[in-house]
Symmetry: C2
Subunit: 220 residues, 2 copies
Amino acid sequence: MTPIEQDAPLGRRDLRKQQTRAALTGAALRLCALRGFDQVTVDDISTEAGVSSRTFFNYFASKEDAVLGDHLVEVDAMRARLAVLLPTMPVLEAVRRAVLLVVAAMEADRDHWFLRMEIIQRSPQLLPRLVLSNAEAERATTEQIAAHLGVDPIAHGYPALVVAATSASFRVAATRWMAAAGRLSLGALVDEAFSGLAAGLPDPDIPPPRPRAGAPVPPG
Amino acid sequence: MTPIEQDAPLGRRDLRKQQTRAALTGAALRLCALRGFDQVTVDDISTEAGVSSRTFFNYFASKEDAVLGDHLVEVDAMRARLAVLLPTMPVLEAVRRAVLLVVAAMEADRDHWFLRMEIIQRSPQLLPRLVLSNAEAERATTEQIAAHLGVDPIAHGYPALVVAATSASFRVAATRWMAAAGRLSLGALVDEAFSGLAAGLPDPDIPPPRPRAGAPVPPG
DNA sequence: AATAAACTTGCAGCCACTGCAAGTTTAAGG
DNA sequence: CCTTAAACTTGCAGTGGCTGCAAGTTTATT
């Protein structure tokens, strides 16, 4: 998504490919935010981007992919960071810090993400696919943590549990971030969520506007 | 899914509808487990179930729905149970106990769930839709907890966080359950996952069978 | 038995998506 | 500069998911 300027050899061919890809995602996001996801055909997007609909499918495997993006780059970066962090701190803390990479990428791509939010809100069918793009990453991270701990990733539930819980927390933070239209820092929201996790999700202290019925009995 | 025998008025019409629906899901699960999800057409399923493909879409909105089911009943039951439990115990504990209802439903429907697992493993595209069916339920539960705590569900992150984390934990437990082909109790796996959550996901104590290679040296 | 309601089905059609076989553009080597 | 190979685009034809419509058929109602 974010136009990445690498020192890699960029012939005018690869340059044009990047342009086309950007044009397609741009058109997809713009049109879908305007009309709603299923009121936009692949042909609309392709025409808006100035290519044929057949070409669209040379760039994206599905209409949804064009809207949601792939985010593979960040995933790889996160895996590398995790590898460095895991040996030096508790798992949960390592994951928290690694996730900050994704936070940075999303904050850098604010505009696209806000459009995505609008589109997803109108077409909830998209939300699961967004989760799926994480699913593969989650599986890999689970194995990475299992390897680090020296346990079997299916016999032992911990690695999968940490990954699933942190991933869910991240999603909650991202949702709040987009709901707040960026008035809050995504990083701060993520930190808040991870703190809640690390504390074991205790009932929050509510500044008591009014007491509720049925006494909450602290266990133990 | 599970044939529910209510005292409700069951004319031979509603009876036949139930039969058709069961035949369709049965055919869908059987065929997809055998050949793989996208090697089975709606026509195959309909023919196997003895109805036209047009009728298929009178019962299910999509091919995926036929395989994954809807699970609306359990969701409603869980919501009711939560309403009773919330005022008398911490949120996390209330959710844990409410989830046991879903656990019971799944254990009662073992066979279908194991087929679903096989199918989903071969066609990971299905996993997100399974998550989506939960998404609506999660939103409702979040609001229920927010109302109980007397906080605004978007200003305050706790309700969404608890729901997302517990939901993810449940998914992990279910995955392990299916991976173990039912040799373990789903209830026990869920309890284990919730315990990990309540403890704040600390690094597990690994019984050290052997030190692993590539020495991760914990710094002082 | 007559009427209304519910259910099934075929048909026509939209759209996402794919493989194939052109045609066109760019890169590479002499 | 010219040639050749590779890469990219595109149209075409076809599959399959999914929908609305307009019968036709079955079941419930009075």
